[in-house]
Amino acid sequence: MDWSYLGRELPRYIEAGLVTLKIGFWGILAALITGLVCCFVLYYKIFILQKIVKVYVELSRNTPLLIQVFFLYFGLPQVGIKLSGTACAIIGLGFLGGSYMAEAFRGGLEAVGNSQIESGLSIGLDKRQMMQYVILPQAISISMPQVSANFIFLLKETSILSAIAIPELLNVTQSLIGLYYKTNESLLLLTVSYLIIILPLSIVLGYIERRLRHAEFGN
């Protein structure tokens, strides 16, 4: 193990880690928004849109991210649509993650007991009040574990974006291995970087989950 190498390349890993976080952040945000929109389309059964959303969900869930971004990055320019690497990355994560988020939210909404809704009706709440005071608070809490699992999943998927030259952690690692042949050291730095990013995130998400859990039925 070459420790001086670890020290020398540390700044590059920090930089790459920030890229991973940045792309991850925007990608997850895109996925959240896509997911929310799709979920409401499905929940309120908005006519044609509902069909489109269903097709989208299946396409997104049954194809790999690598092909999705290759298509966006190398395929689309051929028909005159040129998106930057970052744009492809965020759209790709949004496209993939959107369906996962939609399913998580929908699971939450549907898990709100019918009896809770009837209770709400029986005290005279209108539709908006029902959403605001009864359905949303419970749905959010129910879907939180799934949503936070999706956060971690999408953050890990950023490693695939290395293939379209996004200078994230894996990309930098691959470059360094090719340049200086310190394979063990580079892979160690890479693994540690992921641990540093994902462990705290999963602890924070776990904390939020517990804070929201009071909505659960229980004894």
């Binding site: 049954n62 194809t63 298509f71 890990k156 490693s159 641990l195």
Partner: protein, 218 residues
Amino acid sequence: MQNSGINVIFNNIGILLDGLGNTLLIAVTSLFISFFTGFGFGLLRMSKNRIVKLLTYIYLEAFRIIPIMVWLFSFFFFIPRTLGIDISGEVAAIVVFTMWGTAEMGDIVRGALESLSKGQIESGLSIGLSKLQLFLYIQFPQAIKRIVPGAISLGTRMIKTTSLVVLIGVIDVIARGKQVIERTKEAFWIYGFLFLLFFLMCYPLSIMARKLERKWES
């Protein structure tokens, strides 16, 4: 350029589908092995021994936290160099996918076994079944209905994840696609085709998993 537009797919279908063999080989082999090793791992996960519990937990979390890409790289380069054995990209991929599959499958098995109502198990005990009989006659037949749908959707995840093996030099369907693109420059059609191809492999499995799940739920 004699190929252009959508024709590029038909003209190169042979070479493209040739790569599909490797893709399926990796996914199917890994899934098959994982099904059995996963059962063992699932049972281990339910052990009451704290050390076994901790180790199996770490093993599972390792695959949940570290991207599969990183595992593939490690196994492809690091292990052969350290142990001095040559392993091909295909073997490295199968090893990593099987290890990952074992972890995930184990969790599915554990979840299925733990979800069985305590009452069913106590009923079994109360008519005097031995532990083995309990597993054979009660736990396994009931758990399998939850395991199979989970295993199928793990299969689709594996097929999707095989897309990464191209990055460790395995000549899979994507590698073949890239070779065709190199010659024809038809990235749009080839990647579009690959997109569709993966969809056609995974979608029927997803449907099947969902159908079984719904059927067995009641």
